[in-house]
């Protein structure tokens, strides 16, 4: 039984547990504070929460007891620049956290705004900027998508080889490393940007992949909800194929990849980029079971009219069983399905805006 769900919100971190009568939350941690990313590390049982304090900056906390007590550890930070380079960057937000692979317990990756990758090898006690990615010349052409600055929101670590890493950048496309982040190459070929002149639409540097998720059992399969489309890679994110015939829309932020079946993934469509609400006020989840050739839309248990819910890129997750999914919205609704997305139940309609849901 999949039993624990972490929900990071604008005003605290909520941990839901599957009880006999349904999903129930304990008291929130960090009440009142924006929690931008949460990671339950299955390798050692640690729980991490990244905060974005309005006045006092980015903080990272770690819990060894499932969120009962917390210890503040170091937050990712850029090296201090001096002399002619003064006026350097500061981390504005930790957008995503990822474990560094089964063979590297204690190693963590963090993707931030502005668009940088950081690594810790000591469970967050210290962090270092991955200079090799920060130094790629193409970074000069990255640009903000949704925020003023570009940011790294997706970090995929290959479960077969922890040295193979893919990151998704809004907007800087997909970047791949085969050597634990030592060197990087541009991936994401085949992604298409409708927001650029036609002759630049396939430029891999300018792509806005809203979210990348890989199939755990077949990690070469990577699904991408892009700014203007739905894509699938079968080579670990190097190249992608686009699917255009998706109702009601190909626009959205979130995607969940089935952990065992590389043909199955879920998306949450919105109208379009200039109108980020469900089509016709009816919230649905779309699912493909055939690798993207067809999609079915499911709305049973979700608002059938008058919905303005938007599901952020980290706010859809599928559990290890492949049939339990959670979804949270900017309106503070939290839904769970236990049949692969066909019927949903409201867990709460009164949460703060939800940034991330993650099964522990």
């Amino acid at each position: 039984m999949t039993g624990i769900l972490d929900v990071a919100t604008r005003k605290g971190l909520f941990r839901f547990r599957r009880e006999v009568d349904g999903w129930e939350a304990g008291p929130p941690a960090f009440l009142g504070e924006p929690v931008t990313a949460v990671l339950a590390d299955s390798r050692d049982g640690m729980l991490y929460a990244a905060l974005r304090l309005g006045h006092f900056g980015v903080k990272l906390h770690r819990s060894a007891d499932g969120g009962e007590t917390w210890t503040e550890v170091a937050a990712p930070a850029f090296p201090k620049q001096t002399g002619a380079e003064a006026g350097g960057p500061s981390v504005d937000m930790v957008w995503t956290l990822a474990g560094g692979g089964e063979d590297r317990a204690g190693t963590l990756w963090a993707g931030t705004l502005p668009g940088a990758l950081f690594r810790s090898t000591d469970r967050g006690e210290s962090w270092s900027l991955v200079e090799s990615l920060w130094a790629v010349p193409e970074r000069e052409r990255w640009f903000g998508g949704g925020y003023d600055n570009p940011g790294i929101h997706s970090i995929l670590v290959d479960p077969r080889d922890s040295g193979r890493i893919a990151v998704g950048i809004s907007c800087g496309g997909v970047w791949l490393s085969d050597d634990h982040g030592g060197t990087w190459r541009q991936g994401g070929h085949g992604l298409r940007a409708a927001y650029l002149p036609p002759d630049q639409a396939l430029d891999p540097v300018s792509q806005d992949p809203h979210r990348l998720r890989a199939c755990a059992a077949a990690p070469d399969v990577v699904w991408c909800q892009h700014h203007n489309g739905i894509f699938r890679s079968s080579d670990g994110g190097a190249t992608f194929e686009e699917f255009v015939d998706v109702r009601p829309s190909v626009f959205g932020f979130a995607v969940a990849a089935h952990p065992a079946d590389p043909e199955t993934a879920w998306f949450v469509p919105g109208v379009k980029d200039e109108c980020r609400v469900p089509a016709d006020g009816r919230l649905v989840v779309t699912r493909t079971d055939d690798g993207g050739r067809s999609f079915a839309a499911f709305g049973d248990g979700l608002p059938g009219e008058g919905s303005y819910d938007l599901v952020y890129r980290h706010a859809l997750d599928v559990a290890a069983d492949g049939t339990t999914l959670a979804m949270g919205s900017t309106t503070g609704n939290l839904w769970i399905t236990e049949d692969g997305g066909e019927r949903w139940a409201t867990v709460s309609a009164n949460l703060p805006p939800i940034a991330q849901v993650a099964f522990a």
Binding site: G32, L53, G54, H55, F56, G57, K59, E72, A75, A77, F78, P79, K80, Q81, A86, G87, G88, P89, S90, V91
Partner: protein
Amino acid sequence: MPEQVEGCALGRGWFTSNLERHLSCPTVEARGRTVRQVLDAVFAENPRLKAYLLDDQDCLRRHVNIFIGDRPVEDRTGLGDPVSPDEDVHVFQALSGG
């Protein structure tokens, strides 16, 4: 180590109570001729406080305000505003931070 400035005493470094949500930062005595020197002296005793007030480049965070006596800090990058003996340095959260 912070620069210790002989004969230049700070009356008090006072911190908004909203910081107490995150870490202990009682009013303290510190020495320094500039805001930077005063803060460095405070951080030497309370190192975790530094990242709450300063950004990655050691500049004052955008939504943190400092007053030296009744004067708002002007040099938010270098924190070179002078501090006279027995002046209080007040650290507030700015309303602009939400």
